[in-house]
């Protein structure tokens, strides 16, 4: 088939482009529906790769057919060496980032040592530039990161200096990762500095991963897949370390301020706050931070954003979460300090005091939201405020 030879040639052109410039960091399809000249449809400028659109389908079909035929063990493609498999899957994924077969082939290449984890992470980052939401790409990254962590742990077992602790403990003790945060936030030194941070690239790789998530979130509004992946990295690669979580709260504040209608960004902050709430004791004992103050600060932030940028639903929804957190924090203190069955006068007084505090919190909130200062004159914002007040009434009847 004529297309087959064209496809073959296109693939080889693509491979040369990547060979010529291993630092390609962006690619796109150029609106050229018909081939106009006899030259290659690839354009390479300043590490950006352009592919004329007429050639995309031909290239994809050729690469895809080759790969499937190889998997089916069909004669012409029975023996493809790893380099060829690498370039076929690369061509496929640049066009269709959600082709699981291609990603899975790359998993096999990684397992066989023909492709490095870092190389594949880099390639995935490139794919995300054009397909910032691709679920299969993010899924593949999780597999790669697992591999990376396994490799790190495996190579650190031999050099374990703290006797008696198993790999799991070492993984859990990641609190000591230094993340260049506020000078005011200097956590205490941990005695069992885990071997994982001594792995030269661990921290850097994970930081790069957070950056990939951020870029994908920049490139597509409400990019739930990117933010979910970011949460996953926090959980599986940083083990929700308080230092990292708090650092993330700090560093994403600027982002949400510039993306005020991005529900996913605010949802990420809700996750961070929840992490902090679950480790509130540790937060105050070891880092001298009060969880309640952190939530209050978030309330100030959201109030400021609502005032400055009226009419954005995401802000009001985030406010619901923050207010709920304040109430729960109040309730938690109540449960800790009051003995429910004790009928002493002191206990009763405590109970009343805390109930009053809850009431005051509620009334203050209703007041703030009803105040014209917060809602402004913009009609839609007033509607959102009203919905919020309706929600509070329902919430407090629980």
């Amino acid at each position: 088939m004529a297309n087959d030879s064209r496809g073959c040639r296109l693939l080889s052109d693509l491979n040369s482009a990547f060979r010529r410039d291993p630092e390609i960091d962006e690619y796109d399809f150029l609106p050229v529906p018909e081939p106009k000249h006899n030259r290659s449809p690839l354009v390479l400028q300043e590490h950006k790769l352009g592919i004329e659109s007429w050639s995309v389908k031909i290239l994809f079909q050729y690469a895809y057919n080759q790969l499937i035929s190889w998997r089916n063990n069909s004669p012409p493609t029975k023996f493809l060496d790893p380099t060829e498999l690498c370039s076929l899957t690369r061509a496929i994924l640049l066009v269709n980032a959600d082709c699981s077969t291609a990603w899975n082939t790359r998993k096999e290449l990684v397992d066989n040592g023909d492709l490095s984890v870092t190389e594949d992470l880099k390639f995935g980052g490139l794919v995300l530039k054009k397909h910032p939401k691709s679920p299969e790409t993010f899924s593949h990254r999780k597999w790669l990161l697992h591999r990376f962590i396994d490799n790190c742990l495996a190579s650190s077992i031999g050099s374990n200096t703290s006797s008696g602790s198993n790999a799991c403990d070492r993984f859990v003790n990641m609190e000591a990762i230094d993340l260049n945060m506020d000078a005011s936030f200097n956590g205490p030194n941990f005695d069992n500095a885990p071997d994982l941070i001594n792995q030269p690239d661990y921290n850097e790789l994970m930081r790069k991963e957070m950056n990939v998530c951020k870029n994908a979130a920049d490139n597509h509004p409400c990019n739930y897949n990117a933010w979910s992946h970011r949460i996953w990295v926090l959980q599986h690669c940083f083990n929700c370390s308080l230092q990292v979580v708090y650092g993330e709260l700090h560093s994403t504040e600027g982002w949400v301020t510039k993306h005020i209608s991005d529900h996913s960004g605010f949802h990420y902050r809700q996750f961070l706050l929840k992490c902090l709430s679950q480790q509130a004791e540790k937060l105050s004992e070891q880092f001298l931070l009060n969880y309640r103050n952190i939530v209050q600060k978030e309330m100030y932030l959201i109030t400021d954003l609502i005032k400055s940028y009226p009419g954005h639903e995401a802000l009001w929804y985030h406010r619901r979460y923050v207010f709920q957190s304040l109430c729960e924090s109040c309730d938690k203190i109540a449960m800790e300090t009051i003995q429910p069955c004790e009928k002493s006068q002191e206990n009763q007084q405590k109970k009343t005091k805390l109930e009053n505090e809850r009431q005051v919190l509620l009334m203050k909130e209703v007041d703030s939201v009803s105040n014209g200062d917060l809602t402004g004159r913009e009609k839609y914002n007033q509607q959102l405020a009203q919905k919020y007040l309706d929600w509070i009434q329902k919430y407090c009847r629980r």
């Binding site: 352009g50 993306h259 209608s261």
Partner: protein, 197 residues
């Protein structure tokens, strides 16, 4: 929350003359930037042509909003932003730019001068006001802005004349390059969000 373009034009009796403009193209793909810039200029042109003298409007088109003010002396300011950027700040910025431009370039030049006019501050404003809080320094001008007078349009098509279609205008335009036109067709077909129109 982004600002993409600020432009100053003169709405003459028979034609609209482009005087100065600044663009922020980094949010767009490398290969799309030149076409996007052409489309922003094209949009400014057709919006200025179809907005009445003395009126203020904000027109939505996909994820973009084009804010325009045609002053009574026909000096026209436009700002293209995303839907998060506050309308009030965009119009205040237009006022500020028009005021400053009037001081710099004599009225006699407006109908005929073209982009040879040097108004370097415009690029600086585009950068500075990416953060609308910068507008706090403009609060005096802000309070003079009557937001109720801003006409809102759901799409740019609303300001086109009867029978005018965007696709035809793009096709027939002698201001757009072949590359930009091809870009528009593709984006239109895929309903992609990279195009102003």
């Amino acid at each position: 929350m982004k600002l993409y373009c600020i432009a100053v034009l003169h709405k003459g009796e028979t034609k609209v003359n482009s005087l100065a403009s600044a663009h922020e193209l980094s949010p767009f793909g490398y290969f799309q930037r030149s076409s996007v810039k052409e489309f922003m200029d094209f949009t400014c042109q057709i919006v200025a042509e179809r907005t009445m003298v003395g009126s203020r409007a904000s027109m939505k088109e996909k994820e973009y909003i084009c804010h325009v003010y045609v002053r009574s002396d026909c000096l026209t300011g436009l700002v293209i932003a995303d839907h998060e950027y506050p309308q009030r700040v965009a119009h205040t910025l237009i006022n500020k730019v028009l005021e400053e431009f009037t001081g710099k370039v004599p009225k006699s030049q407006w109908p005929t001068a073209n982009q040879r006019i040097v108004y370097g501050e415009l690029a600086g404003y585009l950068q500075k006001y990416q953060d609308p809080k910068q507008a706090d320094s403009m609060t005096k001008i802000q309070s003079e802005l009557d937001e109720t007078k801003i006409i809102l349009y759901d799409t740019i098509e609303k300001i086109l004349e009867r029978g005018e279609k965007l696709e035809d205008m793009v096709d027939n335009s002698d201001r757009l390059s072949m590359h930009a036109k091809a870009f528009f067709q593709v984006a239109r077909k895929t309903n992609s969000c990279c195009v102003i129109l």
